[in-house]
Amino acid sequence: MAYQIIDSCVNCWACEPLCPSGAIHAAQPHFFIDRNRCTECDGEHAEAQCASICPIEGAILDRWGVPANPPGSLTGIPPARMRAAMAEIRSR
């Protein structure tokens, strides 16, 4: 029962001070959640704090390994649109 941060993390520090369990640490190459300390904010907050402030879609996974913030959920950019834009940029 723990969240995890993966390599798309940009090390912005937003989550670290919010964690009620002190489970988040600055680390290399990116921030890290101590799975033994993470409580998923159960009993503390209605929503997991790290996942609620993280600005990067896909950077935080829930206990099932599913992105807490899936593509398009934070930026509002439809994933297909993003893929098309990136393909267009690569082809230049």
């Binding site: 798309s8 912005c12 929503e47 402030i53 993003m82 940029i89």
Partner: protein
């Protein structure tokens, strides 16, 4: 007959007696302000148009976290070649930031101002931000401290800002209508939840307005930044301007949206365009009213170093800073001497401008005017024309009219190198000329044969005759010359009134 070149504001304050606009300069821009405020901003490059020719600023990137998302920002972005807000190369701890500030202040005597502007929101990182300010107010007491914020946490930190002697705060306010806000801000983090849509915008707007009011009540200088997003808030910003002015903001800065697909921002990917030069200028004019707008903003990176429009960040990376040996006491004396001299230069440039006369020949009993004209200027600072056309990375644009010369903005260009006329060089020159669209003359210290010809073909008169002259004097002289020759597309029935003769 001679008439003084007068500023747009007829009622000038008794102090200074500057009737010319400077370069749309601080006298004009800030003339509605009490003397105490003008004293505070006269050496602040971001607040005073005149000052930005002589004084430098730096931002330290100590504040990575953000508590909102804006559609023009992408938190993944980090690129040394990009210059725009929210972009940085190296995140610093407060201790590193303080070292860097002291190193920069020792090497760049023009530096007067240290700002914290991100790359996230400074007030969403209060420990890092205030620790940096605390150390700096102790170790570098001669440097002004500023902060720029989205406003969400602002009311919680007003007391701390006052305590640390932060007397300049910038709030980015893009709207006062939550319907419009919902199209700019996809979410905010508020009271332990991520909130989206209209509700998020409502909270953000309320907090921004509350913070603005709290600061102005305490006598803190507040500038409001707005990003002009065509079709989203462009028509709304006039109202924003009126409201923030009524609440005591002393300057409103309307900036153009920067949006490219490769930035990965919502607006960039979705194809939202930025405003044209004309649209921006027209909105700035509408918002101006009796509170003059800031037009010299360069939308700096969150780790910019140097004069506005230049970035010397590469000279002060942390590994280089760690190697530097600095005698700050000596540097502080040198800076004080430089800055005193620069203020004297400013004063001196202002005075002759104030006494400048342009003879008018044919008034015909009533005042008639030639149409205004845009003039581009190449300068490296100091308020004078001192840059080679081919070395300019940006041109300042002035509007000259029979009434005055005023600064209206800047145009960024790629560096064009002389002699590099084949392949890329040529297209860079063409791009530069395209960026100068709407200007009818370009003033620089020197210019090569090839760009000269191309500018003439494009209907822009190149002019290297005013090297080292104060900008506004040169612009008004060139305007007078061109008027004498007959401005192209002159308004039918208008007579030519001005002659050169300064």
């Amino acid at each position: 007959m001679q008439l003084p070149v007068i500023g747009r504001q007829v009622a000038q304050p008794s102090e200074g007696g500057c009737s010319a606009s400077g370069c749309g300069g601080s006298n004009d821009q800030l003339s509605h302000l009490p003397q105490s405020i003008r004293d505070k901003v006269r050496d602040h490059p971001c607040y005073s148009e005149e000052a930005h020719h002589h004084f430098a600023r730096m931002h330290v990137a100590v504040a990575p976290a953000c508590n909102i998302q804006c559609h023009y920002c992408n938190r993944k972005y980090d690129c040394a070649n990009e210059s725009r807000p929210g972009v940085v190369s190296e995140l610093l701890t407060p201790d590193q930031a303080v070292k860097k500030v002291i190193a920069v202040a020792a090497h760049i005597p023009q530096m007067t101002v240290l700002g914290i502007a991100g790359p996230g929101d400074p007030l969403a990182n209060p420990e890092r931000t205030f620790e940096t300010f605390r150390q700096l107010s102790e170790k570098a007491p001669d440097i002004k401290l500023c902060v720029s914020t989205n406003g969400l946490s602002l009311p919680d930190h007003v007391e701390a800002l006052c305590k640390h002697n932060i007397d300049h705060v910038t709030i980015t306010i893009n709207c006062v209508d939550p319907e419009i806000g919902a199209k700019i801000y996809p979410w905010i983090f508020w009271k332990n939840r991520r909130i989206k849509g209209r509700k998020a915008a409502e909270i953000l707007i309320q907090r921004q307005q509350q913070g603005l009011q709290m600061l102005t009540e305490r006598g803190v200088l507040v500038k409001v930044n707005s990003v002009m997003i065509p079709g989203v808030n462009d028509r709304h910003l006039e109202e924003v301007s009126q409201i923030v002015k009524a609440k005591g903001a002393f300057l409103h800065n309307v900036m153009p949206l920067i949006a490219e697909a490769e930035h990965g921002t919502f607006y960039g990917v979705m194809g939202q365009r930025g405003p044209t030069h004309d649209e921006l200028q027209s909105l700035q004019d509408k918002c101006a009213g009796d509170m003059n707008l800031m037009r010299h903003c360069r939308q700096c990176r969150a780790d910019a170093v140097g004069m506005l429009g230049e970035d010397r960040g590469d000279e002060f990376t942390m590994d280089k800073v760690e190697e530097m040996v600095i005698d700050y006491e000596a540097a502080m004396r040198e800076r004080a001497a430089y800055q005193q001299a620069a203020l004297a230069t400013l004063e001196a440039q202002r005075k002759p401008a104030g006494e400048q006369f342009i003879p008018l020949t044919a008034l015909g009993g009533r005042k008639r005017t030639s149409r205004p004209m845009l003039v581009a200027v190449a300068t490296t600072g100091g308020g004078v024309i001192n840059q080679h056309f081919g070395h300019a990375r940006e041109f300042l644009v002035y509007e000259a009219s029979p009434m005055d010369v005023r600064f209206i903005g800047h145009r960024k260009v790629e560096l064009y190198r002389e002699g590099n006329s084949c392949g890329d060089g040529e297209s860079v020159l063409q791009k530069t000329i395209a960026a100068l669209a709407g200007c009818e003359a370009v003033l620089c210290s020197k210019i090569g044969y090839e760009p000269w010809e191309m500018l003439e073909q494009a209907g822009i008169a190149p002019n290297g005759e005013h090297a080292m002259e104060p900008i506004e004097q040169a612009v008004s002289a060139v305007y007078a010359e061109l008027v004498e020759k007959g401005l192209r597309r002159d308004v039918a029935g208008e007579q030519i009134l001005l002659q050169a003769g300064i």
